[in-house]
Amino acid sequence: MSQPLLAPDWQPELDELALRRAQSVALGGETAVAKHHGQGRLTVRERIDGLIDDASFQEIGRLTGQGRYEDGQLHGVTPAPYVMGLARIDGRPVAVGGEDFTVRGGVSWSGDRKKGGQGGFVEDLAHQYRIPLVNLIDGAGGSVTSVQRRGHSVFPGVHGFERSVQLMGEVPVVCAVMGTAAGGPAGRAILSHWSVMVKDSSQVFAAGPPVVERSLGQKITKEELGGHKIAADVAGTIDNVAAGERECFEMIRRYLSYMPSHVWELPPVVMVGDPADRCEDALRTIVPKNRRQPYDMKRLISLVVDRESVFEIQPSFGRAVITCLARMNGKVVGIVANNPAVYGGAIDVKAARKQTHFVELCDTFHIPLVFLVDVPGFMVGRDAEAAATLREGMRSVYVGLQASVPMYTVVIRKCYGMAGMGATDKNGLDLKIAWPSAEWGSLPIEGGVAAAFRREIAEAVDPRAREQEIEAELRAMASPFRTAEAFGVEEIIDPRETRAFLCRFIDAAQGRLQTTVGPKPRYGVRP
């Protein structure tokens, strides 16, 4: 006689799953979360929710952690201090993860497989699916207590950066430093295409104040050591600074809006209804007649690109050059503009480093570059030489020569020397257009006359007058129109035509850009 069929009862297992999930949502527990909130900080789950499209988080690894058992019965789970998964930003999939500071300060956790932070599942996800990676960093890295736990010390690189490095040529990587990052998490922040930190509530350094005091006897606060004034403004270790966590999420979304999902496609086109042939009369008068007077290059940029489309990278570092992502007729472009208000736009070591990184970023993601040139050359002087301006400057020239995206040179005023050459597309079409205010050469006339005509000036009845006379003669010959006669510069335009001209060529380059998608080769030895 057969038994009546009963539906199998999995309720106890489903109850256990619910309990385990609830433990994961509770993070480090009420007390730890309240303390974290009390410092004006969001939890990692709140951060992920604040960053991504509504209800788009598919978490992975919710059950990881350390179970607490009594007589074989589960009493609770301390979750692993890392939360991650798949999400969407502006409708596009992204891999996102972050340390949970409320569990043991977000220190690394040893399971069978890492969730993220330094390699791990979240980085594998970005690599395998070719989607951007966003790291929300809030951890102090390894702890010496792990020696006690394991019974041996771990060789550096057991959880290495190999995947993190690989991602740099494949998908956009954003690192946001949300708290204090030292050691591995600080290093991870640097292995990114773009990084951001939160003003007054985040710091980043190789090692924190206790290690610094022990090693060097220096007493220093963590804000003095690695707050935004050092890490972003002075060192350029981190690119941008957000006023608060919410603004930080907005900036990440904004940055990613300029990026393709991976290097095998072009960035998204977003039309804002700004006519490609818009002319701005203000461009005619923006450059002063007095060539010693600076002007507002940021305003010039905003008059040329699609309205409201400027996103500046590293605004507080290396300010002699301005680097920003923007759009022209909907297509993403990278703007490299010299800033005449900072050392006359001369490229110092910081500006060179900034330009190198930005050119490489744009080249990697197939973003055409527009150089708005007003550069007297590399920075001069003892300090500049001691800082290796020449080497860092030549590195920016080298990287520019290896880049294969279309580049457009618009000479606004000065274009001199090696720094000027670094703003051209020598391996490409080498299209150089100039405003009537433009001037160029191997070095500025006023610096060169005294050296080149030394004897003639010295032997003159009135040496000062003779020097000025020679300067005037040479300056007349230096008119940009004479170079245009020789086709040494391809066009001289009315400044108001700048936008229309560039939009026309950037539109025309789209077909060619589609033929060069994919990872960019890097070869040779950078100087």
């Binding site: 007095n290 600076p294 005449p340 208000a341 050392y343 006359g344 007297p376 920075m379 610096g447």
Partner: protein, 73 residues
């Protein structure tokens, strides 16, 4: 009465002082002009105020971030 400092953004030399002690400057007015890399870089009174004191004279060398004048609200 809050005092605020006007700083040179660049290393260079003081080319021309274009304001006077006792003069009331509006926000954005020029205090003096620094010559650097053959450029005239203005020192701006960011919040405006009355010029109390100049810390440098014309021709003096200045370094980046150096206080060149003191203003009061």
């Amino acid at each position: 009465m809050a005092m605020n400092e006007a700083k040179s953004e660049v290393t260079g030399s003081v080319w021309k002082i274009v304001s006077e002690v006792g003069q009331k400057l509006a926000a954005g007015d020029t205090v003096m002009i620094i010559e650097s890399m053959k450029m005239e870089i203005p020192v701006i009174a960011e919040d405006g105020g009355e010029v109390v004191e100049f810390k440098v004279a014309e021709g003096a060398a200045v370094t980046e971030g150096q206080v060149v004048a003191v203003l009061k609200d």
